[in-house]
Amino acid sequence: MNKEEILNLLPYSAPFHFVDTLDHVDENGAKGSFTFSPELDFYKGHFKDHPVTPGVILTETMAQIGLVCLGLYLLASSAEPANGHVMLTSTAIDFMKPVFPGEQVFVSSEKIYFRFKKLHCNVQMTNQAGEVVCKGTLSGMVTKKLNG
C-alpha cells in the first residue's frame, strides 16, 4: 500500500484530521507532518487569550501519523488484513516544548511490536527548529466493536 492510499484510508475529517503529509512509511515506522492552523477551534479555549496546542491534540497527531498510518500499512501487508475501527489503547507521553498556533510539526514512529492486530510504537514529535516537542509510546488496535 502506498502513502497516498494510506492517507485516503484515514478515518478522520476536519476538525479532527491531523495529518498533512505522510513522508515515509515502511514495516518499521512512519514519518509525516502537520501544520496547526491558527483557526482550529480549540485555540479559543486552550487557553483563554493564550492559545497553545493541547497535549491531547499533540498525542492525537502522533497517533494519527505514527500509529494509524503505520498500522494501516502493516495491516495491508499482513496475512489477514482486517477491517474495523481503529482505537487507541494506551499512551505514555512526555511533553517538552509548547506548540503554538501556526507551527508545523514532524512526527516519526518506530514499531516496537505488531502482534495480534495490536501495534505498539515509540513516537516522537519535533518542531521546525528540530527540537523535540514530545515523545513516548502509543498503542492501538483494530476492533470490530467499539464498546469493549
Binding site: E80, T89, S90, Y113, R115, F116, K117, K118, S139, M141, T143, G148
Partner: protein
C-alpha cells in the same frame, strides 16, 4: 509441568494487567481473563506476549483467539511446550 505449577507461573503475568484484584486472588482454571479479571483486549495481547517469553513458546493467531480463560491458556501452553 502440572496444572498447578502452570497456574502459579501464569498468575504473576496476568497480575500485571488484571483490573479485578479479588478475582485475581481466586484465579482458577475457569477464570475468564476478560469477564472475571477485566483485562481489556489490548492488554490481553500483552498477556500472550509475556506468556510467549516466559515459556519460550510461540503462539499463533488461532491459539491466541482461544486463550480467553486460564484453562484454555494452560491447554495451549502445554501443547506448545510439547511441540518443542
Amino acid at each position: 509441568m502440572d496444572n498447578e505449577e502452570l497456574i502459579s507461573r501464569l498468575k504473576p503475568i496476568v497480575a500485571v494487567y488484571a483490573q479485578d484484584k479479588v478475582a485475581l486472588e481466586s484465579m482458577n482454571p475457569e477464570t475468564d481473563f476478560i469477564k472475571d479479571l477485566k483485562i481489556n483486549s489490548a492488554n490481553l495481547v500483552d498477556v500472550i506476549l509475556d506468556v510467549e517469553e516466559a515459556f519460550d513458546i510461540e503462539i499463533d493467531n488461532q491459539s491466541m483467539e482461544k486463550m480467553l480463560t486460564v484453562q484454555a491458556s494452560i491447554d495451549i501452553i502445554k501443547h506448545k511446550i510439547g511441540l518443542k
